[in-house]
């Protein structure tokens, strides 16, 4: 191959919630354009070839989630996979009741789904209150429960094994949202936990692609009309080159997952220490029981958008959960539920080391530049005397 089909990832990338493709997955995607463009439902040779390649990719991705290929469906987005996964549980149990138990730090698409009324509170670190969760499960109209394996905004791991046991004791099917953790956190999904599992290939260096597993024996079904593709869960078959790239990303990241996790964890520890040393900065989320690659902190008397611009000016690209950034009208519901500062928020999601070779230097530079960047923003806002 003459050259990689993508530009090298830019240095300074510290917002990899949707990061660049793993370079090998990028080459697989390009190869897929030639070999697997066809509709896998087609009966001609190109269609059959696409089908065979899709079957192989499905086996790899099913293995990633610890499920069987027949249990797995692929969806255009992780959000769509979450929505469909929950809708199928809820519809199948509609005679039991309409209610869905969910923690207050779940992803918006789940909190906005039908049936979620009073989200279970989380503590200051973003971890769900298991006593309140148990009480909510004890309601007599509970169709389903949802829990993230870990929070993608602040990194805090959830008590998955505990909540899975609580749900099983009540015979309530549990949807586990691993969209922020699969491939990054080796302690993501306890063996056999959850009736429905959802993940995102983007979390392990693949393209955005929703993965939905419904374990055999789970009561699950969507209202009619029946969907034709992906185990009856999707309107159309996935674009096979994307599935191939996702599977390749998994193969690549699985090779050195343990070393990658250790390195990322140590880098995040450094960011946490550097941020905590800046006056009036609060690092949020659990310091230890967390995703290896995510860290969030909030800067008092600073505007999230101005902070992002200041860091970008210094060649460091981060994200924010503040309302003042992007076009969001409300601050991050996760930060609000935790009772921590929502303004001046900075979120770092480390890319995989294999995706961003400059990652160590970028973290170094962030730690070095942060005190001055914060001071500059406060000077500009006239709050440096507070």
């Amino acid at each position: 191959m003459a050259r990689p089909p993508f530009d090298p990832p830019g240095t300074g990338l510290l917002d990899a919630a949707r990061g660049p493709l793993h370079p090998v997955a990028g080459r697989t995607l390009e190869a897929g354009l030639a070999a697997a463009w066809a509709d896998p439902g087609g009966l001609h040779p190109p269609g059959r070839r696409a089908r065979a390649l899709l079957d192989t990719a499905r086996e790899v991705l099913a293995d990633a989630l610890g499920v069987r290929p027949a249990e797995l469906s692929l969806h255009p987005s992780a959000q769509g996979a979450l929505e469909v996964g929950l809708a199928g549980l809820r519809h199948a149990r509609r005679r039991t009741g309409p209610t869905v138990v969910a923690g207050a730090a779940e992803r918006s698409v789940l909190l906005l789904a039908p049936g979620v009324q009073d989200p279970v509170p989380v503590d200051r670190t973003g971890r769900v209150d298991t006593t309140a969760y148990a009480a909510a499960l004890a309601g007599d109209q509970v169709a389903a429960a949802v829990l993230q394996t870990a929070n993608g905004e602040v990194g805090t791991r959830q008590p998955v094994a505990h909540v899975a046991a609580l749900a099983a004791a009540r015979d309530v099917p549990l949807l586990l949202d691993a969209t922020a953790s699969l491939g990054r956190d080796l302690h993501g999904i306890p063996d056999g936990a959850g009736s429905v599992l959802v993940a995102d290939a983007a979390s392990f260096g693949g393209p955005p692609l929703g993965l939905l597993a419904v374990r055999t024996g789970t009561r699950w079904g969507l209202p009619r009309p029946r969907r034709e593709a992906e185990q009856g869960r999707e309107h159309a078959a996935p674009w096979v080159p994307l599935a191939l790239a996702a599977a390749e990303a998994w193969r690549q990241t699985a090779v050195d997952a343990a070393a990658e996790e250790r390195t990322a964890r140590a880098l995040v520890d450094r960011v946490r220490r550097a941020a905590a040393a800046v006056p009036d900065v609060e690092v949020v989320g659990d310091a230890d029981d967390r995703l290896p690659h995510v860290v969030t902190f909030s800067v008092l008397y600073a505007d999230g958008e101005v902070l992002l611009e200041e860091l970008a000016r210094r060649g460091l690209f981060v994200a924010s959960g503040s309302a003042c950034t992007s076009s969001a009208l409300r601050p991050s519901h996760v930060l609000a539920a935790m009772g921590v500062l929502t303004h001046g928020n900075v979120r770092v999601t480390l890319p995989l080391g294999s995706v961003s070779p400059t990652r160590d230097d970028d973290v170094d530079r962030l730690c070095r530049e942060l005190p001055d960047a914060v001071a500059a923003v406060r000077r500009r806002l006239g709050t440096d005397d507070l």
């Binding site: 009036d280 690092v283 310091a287 309302a323 003042c324 601050p331 009772g339 500062l341 303004h343 806002l381």
Partner: protein, 87 residues
Amino acid sequence: MNGPPVVDARGTRCPVPVIRLARAARGLPSGSTVVLLADDDAAWSDVPAWARMKGHEVTLLQDDGWTEFRVLLGEPRTERGHADSST
């Protein structure tokens, strides 16, 4: 005029309400009260979070379309970062 200072930050968005509140509280002795009026959603979480970080106590009074935050100032704290939000 013996009432507590009132900061009317209605119509402003984060981080302005907290900044104006902190400015009004600056230099006041502990035990003083400062009142903030705000209608920005972010103030709901940010004013209590600021008060917790600074050792103040805050009570919220909901009105129609806006909120009154009544802050009782605590002892001044040294300005250090916080490594762990659970402490």
